[in-house]
Symmetry: C2
Subunit: 284 residues, 2 copies
């Protein structure tokens, strides 16, 4: 098992991709912030099923963290991450420094309205601007045929799809299903912050969400069900709930009973913020 080629610079990344293109190979990309878990690995397997070569970027993007957030303590474990890429058979790890991505004098921002309205933006106002800017850069640096993002960060997936459509970035964006542990807890790098008792509580998040989603797709009022789910989270031991909200899939506009929807949540366990989401089937 040979490990991936490691490109710390854009120039090296581009040289590698150019070489693949010369050989007629297709290329997929999985942008990550490292601290790789089974959820990330499933994105890479999806990528490898769609293209001849897979690039995984590992970059903890300062632009998407607010000054009060966990940029400094965000888990970094490059050596272990590279081992996991080798296990899955990823061919290239792009591991730029912050200065490689944001050189002195950097001055450009990409912002997306539409699906970025509300939800995460109400609590992390500059988050999607940071995400949109770095994703634009990564996609233009690597120029893959497709890129795979997790449905776990569903609003982010919708923002990235909108962005690529709007800016005519020639790439197919694929949303891959959330990987969960045997109790339904969505895999997340931030789960590493949780102690045993918090983990037990965290596992109730998805159960509560699925209960509400089923009720909504059987015709219950989405706002009432969201409110009930929020209360159930507090009762289960969550410290606070940022939002529980039903939205239309894709656009994230107001939910329509006749269309596929998504029920999204963000809630706090101690000082750890967890997010999750599930489908709402269209009301028959």
């Amino acid at each position: 098992m040979s490990g991936p080629h490691i490109s710390p610079t854009i120039a090296d990344l581009r040289a590698q991709v150019k070489d693949w293109r010369r050989q007629g190979l297709s290329v997929a990309m999985v942008p990550t912030m490292g601290a790789l878990h089974e959820g990330h690995l499933s994105l890479m397997r999806e990528a490898l099923s769609r293209a001849d070569r897979c690039i995984v970027s590992i970059f903890v993007n300062p632009a998407q963290f607010a000054p009060t957030e966990d940029l400094d303590k965000y888990p970094r474990q490059l050596e272990r991450d590279i081992e996991r890429l080798a296990e899955v058979g990823v061919q290239l790890a792009f591991t730029p420094t912050p200065a490689e991505i944001y050189p002195a004098g950097f001055a450009t921002k990409v912002s997306v309205a539409g699906p970025s309205a509300g939800l995460e933006t109400d609590f992390r106002p500059h988050f999607f601007e940071g995400v949109a800017t770095v994703v634009t850069k990564l996609l233009l640096q690597a120029a893959p045929d497709c890129a795979v993002f997790g449905q776990k960060d569903y609003q982010q997936l919708c923002v990235v799809q909108q962005l690529c459509r709007d800016l005519d970035i020639p790439v197919e964006i694929i949303g891959a299903p959330t990987v969960r542990d045997e109790h339904g807890l969505a895999m997340s790098s931030r789960n590493a912050y949780l102690d045993e008792a918090q983990l037990t509580t965290a596992r109730k998040l998805n159960v509560i969400l699925r209960t509400a989603s089923s009720a909504i797709s059987r015709g219950a009022d989405p706002e009432q069900e969201a409110a009930k789910a929020g209360q159930a989270l507090l009762d289960a031991g969550f410290r606070s709930v940022d939002y529980v909200a039903a939205r239309e899939s894709g656009s994230l506009g107001p939910w329509q009973p006749s269309a596929e929807g998504r029920l999204l949540v963000a809630a706090w366990l101690g000082s750890t913020r967890l997010i999750d989401n599930v489908e709402i089937a269209a009301v028959a």
Copy 2:
């Protein structure tokens, strides 16, 4: 003399470029808003000297006009423009509709700080956001090896260079010299709005600018010289002066006597706004 291929859609443009790439041909682009004059043609000649094929986009971009500006009366003369492309030997005219560029639900903006600060932005606050967004799209639609912009719109050229560097758009941006009539008046589509008397006044703009630039590069105070030039414009018959300002070349930061600079002006003749700029040689 056969005319250019005309692509009204992104899909047709991309098919044509793909075909050229398959033949190993290099591609240059000149983004325009049509109403083509000798200045534009010089950009196309520059483009054709650098690449095998030249694409000219003709798109009056609504996003860079404020509601009070001249979007509706901006000169449109597609048939004549296409004839001029044929004269120069341009191979492709990209002529999208506004709906092709901004389909329903469009929600993304590209904004550039740095060189967009002040000057035009003080008077047209959303201008460069409109320019940056459409230029990003056009460059990603056509994917040329290089794109040629006029130094006439010097601040725009600096913003586009910053944008492409920051977003890693794989294209070389070339700034081509301003074409002037025999009296020194910079070619501009908006010159078509001027009557004979205004044209006579307009021709003094560049003379006044060059006088100030020479004085500054001989050691005179740039703010004083800019103020004197502003007064000279009013004395010559300009209705008002938005700015006359000395800046560092490229960054458009504060002008330094030891570096190359640029003296930039925007001034009104009746209801027509003219801009121009000249180099300031470094003080020896």
